[in-house]
């Protein structure tokens, strides 16, 4: 990072005066309802994501409880399907995406030297519609006939002709989530495009800003596609259209094409900002500049472009023409190349650095190894003939939990530990944080690694009951799941403890940290960079 502040805080008195003036904010609930401050909105996004992570996690616990032993013990199959469906929806749209948006809100203005997001009122609205979207989704579970039970991928016609009436609420709820995401994405793009401090050229932007910039374009491209496909589900179910019904001239496989045209870029929406986070943390704790900054930017852009050309690798068993299948197989294999470049760059950054291993670094290192394992299984899944055996088994469940939990979620946790001292002004409890890390690392692998074996041995996903040969492994996996769930309580403890007090953090917080966010005081004042810094 070659940013240099040429205008150090030489007007400290002036600044302090300004802060006093501007720090007038409504107290109590009104502050949070009316706020247009990027830091407040970022905090709300992050807390919302954490709450959703625990609600979605509770559903995962129900799933693992039922799967602990063969036979039906605790829930009905219909309810089990609701749990798998809503678990997926909540984790994707309620936990991972809002957490990244929260980090974007907090950090992007501070990283590019802007006073706030470009469109602060829209920012407020894009957060405040989210809780209602998820309230609708969660309350639909209590409707007669239950909530959505067709998997988070809601394949037609299971989600149209054969679904319960909560589908209308599901569609409405997804529409609201989509609107929220699109508004958030527009805000990120406008902010980065227009509000960079003088001298903050494109190729000086921190990678977190770059990856979010590209992610925001992906969001704007694909969220309308998701809105389109849920609307088609709605009209097929209630208004007599036949987009996905062969009897009326439609095609159920068309649904999957549209869904995955959204769904595959969505996967990268949930991982590109993670690349940005890891690219911030590794250099800080290796005390060495990021290796191959430019190639990181190009790799991110290549991944984003390729992500529009690989969607049908989720659909190899649907019976596509062989040439289409081959095209999607090659394109999918190709995407491993820029992803590999990223991993190599991180390792090269560490090489001959002077590393220390605080909690953010530990999570970032775990990210590199475990995300790469998820990448390897992704490469295996790209080999179409082998995919016929892997598809819709626990091998796939293992794959996407490695990229989403030990990938996206670990990066979010790393980011929280990394920037928490900047947000609260206090250092978190390092030894509690290490406990959180080691408990999470061990339990998450007990949870997801055996799923590879169970899948290869032939256990399909999304089943509430299974053949006896899978019994021992499932009991084991469930225990891993419960431990991973419990481990996250340590995280909440660390967060509360840090918010309440602790050792005061310095402005720079970490010895090796570089970038504008480390130039402002800790905790970051309510308003930062009202006068833009100048970067050489």
């Amino acid at each position: 990072m070659s940013v240099v502040i040429t205008e150090p805080r030489d007007h400290d008195d002036q600044h302090d005066h300004d802060h006093e003036h501007h720090d007038h904010k409504p107290r109590g609930i009104k502050r949070w309802l009316y706020t247009t401050n990027h830091k407040d909105i970022g905090t709300m996004y992050l807390i919302f994501a954490l709450v959703m992570f625990f609600i979605g996690g509770a559903m995962a616990m129900v799933i693992r409880l039922e799967l602990f032993q063969p036979g039906m013990q605790f829930v009905e199959p219909h309810f089990f399907n609701q749990m798998t469906t809503v678990h997926g929806l909540i984790m994707v749209f309620g936990a991972v995406m809002p957490a990244f948006t929260g980090l974007a809100n907090w950090m992007i203005p501070m990283m590019i030297g802007a006073p706030d997001m470009a469109l602060p009122r829209m920012n407020n609205w894009s957060f405040w519609i989210l809780p209602f979207a998820f309230l609708i989704l969660l309350l639909s579970l209590f409707m007669p006939g239950g909530g959505p039970s067709f998997g988070w991928t809601f394949y037609a016609p299971l989600s149209t002709t054969y679904s319960s009436d909560s589908t209308a609420l599901f569609v409405f709820s997804v529409h609201i989530m989509g609107i929220s995401s699109i508004m958030g994405a527009i805000n990120v793009i406008v902010t980065i495009w227009n509000m960079r401090a003088p001298g903050m050229t494109w190729m000086k932007m921190p990678l977190f800003v770059w990856t979010w910039f590209i992610t925001a374009f992906l969001l704007i491209m694909v969220m309308p596609v998701l809105a389109g496909v849920v609307t088609m589900v709605l009209t097929d179910k209630y208004f007599g259209t036949s987009f996905f019904d062969a009897a009326g001239g439609g095609d159920p496989v068309l649904f999957q094409h549209i869904f995955w045209f959204f769904g595959h870029p969505e996967v990268y929406i949930m991982i590109l900002p993670a690349f940005g986070i890891v690219s911030a943390i590794i250099p800080t704790f290796a005390r060495k500049r990021l290796f191959g900054y430019a190639s990181m930017v190009y790799a991110t852009a290549s991944i984003a472009i390729l992500s529009f050309l690989v969607w049908a690798h989720h659909m190899f068993t649907t019976g596509m023409p062989v040439f289409a299948t081959l095209f999607f197989m090659y394109a999918t294999m190709l995407i491993a190349v820029p992803t590999g470049v990223k991993v190599f760059n991180w390792v090269a950054t560490m090489w001959r650095g002077a590393m220390t291993f605080e909690v953010p670094m530990m999570f970032a290192l775990a990210f590199i190894v475990l995300f790469t394992i998820g990448g390897f299984s992704g490469l295996m899944l790209a080999i179409t003939p082998a995919d016929f055996q892997y598809h819709d088994t626990y091998f796939v469940v293992a794959h996407f939990h490695y990229v989403l939990v030990t990938g996206a979620v670990f990066s979010i946790v790393a980011a929280v530990y990394y920037w928490l001292p900047k947000w609260t002004g206090n250092m978190y409890d390092e030894s509690l944080g290490q406990w959180h890390f080691w408990c999470s690392l061990i339990s998450v692998n007990l949870l997801f690694f055996p799923m590879h074996f169970v899948g290869l041995a032939g256990m399909p996903r999304r089943i509430p009951d299974y053949a006896l040969q899978f019994a021992d492994f499932n009991a084991f996996i469930s225990i891993g799941g419960f431990l991973f769930g419990l481990s996250q309580l340590i995280f909440v403890w660390v967060l509360i403890k840090c918010a309440r007090g602790g050792v005061k953090a310095t402005d720079q917080v970490w010895e090796g940290a570089e970038g504008l966010e480390w130039e402002v005081p800790s905790p970051a004042p309510y308003h930062t960079f009202e006068t833009p810094p100048v970067i050489k």
Binding site: M72, F74, E76, P77, N81, M143, P144, G145, G146, Y155, P157, T161, Y162, A246, P252, V253, A286, R289, G292, S295, T318, G319, V322, L326, M329, Y330, M333, A336, V337, G340, V347, A348, M350, R352, G353, A354, M355, T356, V369, F376, L379, I383, T384, P385, A386, F388, Q389, H391, F453, A457, G458, P460, I463, A467, L468, Q469, A471, D472, F473, A475
Partner: protein
């Protein structure tokens, strides 16, 4: 909804029971019993080992770095941060590896898609939650339904060896011959998966997909539906028995004879009247096997998705419509057409049962001939 079942077991006993029952689980993909499945297995192992080697190199360097390049050892960080040469190298090497991998994968895929010149063709139709097999060029067709008793699933009886992987009538195919499968579905998307053949193909409603296999050895091969297809997705297994061509031919002749006899018996049945008690007993069995998953054993249905039969207006007031909906299903809902799936005797019994169980006291004894008349489009 989330009706929790009462828990009648203690944890340690179940753990013991489970490990006593469980056959050892293989840790890897099956090699299967066809040439194609072995090729698939080899592709899987090749890409697996490639990943292992790359992983060992990358993680190895990373762990060496973690051991050596730590501040605690008093090292000073180096200053290098880019190298176009290295970047090109580690872009090019993966490309070469991937091309090496794509070539055999392409060959196998093209072979898998070649369904021409088949010796036997079976149409496979999925429906919630059973498979239907029809031998093209023969009258032979039948449904294949989960054979595991509900009592095992509900933990009232100990679980059998092939728990959830057993059916009443398996698919039978000849060994050494090319068998082509035509997949389709009557309702939602299902996916027909037999790991030993490396076949997993979606059954899409309104469309036909193709797959083929040539099995080396006689044997029993088990699989499951792989695509989420509603609440009983876990309960629609696939069992395929591969027999030598001679045994297969003998089996097929026997089955064709049996089918003809059944049809003749059905014609006789039209002239007979069954006793109410027989109809009810028979009807209850059929109801539990085919109807109870949705409409529930007590006829109460699941509010919002599956209508209640107890006190149903249609059942109590319109006998013809009642028979008709069972025979032909209801378009746009998950109510299937059972006219094709059940015998006249079963249909008559289940109609009688649902007209007289759970307080539906119509007193009607519906006979096979009554059902037959509705089936033929005649008035009652």
């Amino acid at each position: 909804m989330a009706k929790t079942r009462s828990i009648r077991w203690s944890l340690p006993t179940l753990l013991l029971a489970a490990s006593a029952n469980a056959a050892a689980m293989p840790l890897n993909m099956t090699k299967g019993v066809t040439e194609i499945s072995r090729e698939v297995y080899n592709l899987h192992m090749t890409i697996f080992w490639i990943c292992c080697v790359i992983g060992a190199v990358v993680f190895g360097i990373m762990f060496v770095s973690i051991l050596l390049h730590r501040k605690a050892r008093g090292v000073q960080p180096a200053q290098f941060h880019e190298s176009t040469k290295v970047e090109i190298l580690w872009t090019a090497i993966p490309v070469v590896i991937l091309i090496g991998m794509a070539i055999p994968a392409t060959k196998t895929l093209i072979a898998m898609e070649d369904t021409s010149a088949a010796d036997v063709t079976v149409q496979v139709t999925g429906s919630q939650w059973k498979w239907h097999y029809k031998y093209l060029g023969s009258d032979l067709e039948y449904f294949s339904v989960l054979a595991t008793p509900r009592e095992q699933i509900n933990n009232r009886f100990p679980k059998g060896e092939n728990y959830l992987l057993e059916v009443d009538r398996p698919l039978v195919i000849p060994t050494g011959q090319k068998v082509r499968f035509l997949m389709t579905s009557d309702d939602v998307i299902h996916s027909w998966w037999v790991p030993a053949f490396a076949i997993k193909k979606d059954a899409n409603p309104g469309f036909i997909n193709e797959a083929w296999t040539r099995v080396d050895h006689p044997g029993v091969y088990r699989g499951q539906c792989a695509e989420l297809c509603g609440q009983d997705h876990a309960f629609m297994p696939i069992v395929v028995i591969a027999k030598t061509p001679e045994d297969y031919a003998a089996w097929k002749a026997t089955e064709e004879n049996r089918l003809a006899e059944e049809k003749a018996a059905e014609q006789e049945l039209l002239a007979m009247n069954m006793e109410m008690s027989d109809l009810m007993a028979n009807g209850e069995r059929t109801y539990i096997a085919y109807c109870a998953a949705c409409h529930q054993p007590n006829g109460a249905g699941l509010p919002g998705i599956f209508p209640a039969l107890a006190g149903s207006n249609l059942i109590l007031n319109d006998r013809r419509a009642h028979i008709d909906i069972i025979l032909n299903g209801k378009a746009g809902t998950s109510m299937q057409a059972f006219g094709r799936q059940l015998s006249l005797k079963e249909l008559a019994s289940v109609v009688t049962y649902t007209r007289n169980a759970w307080g539906n006291d119509t007193g009607d004894a519906v006979q096979a001939a009554d059902v037959y008349r509705v089936q033929q489009g005649e008035g009652e």
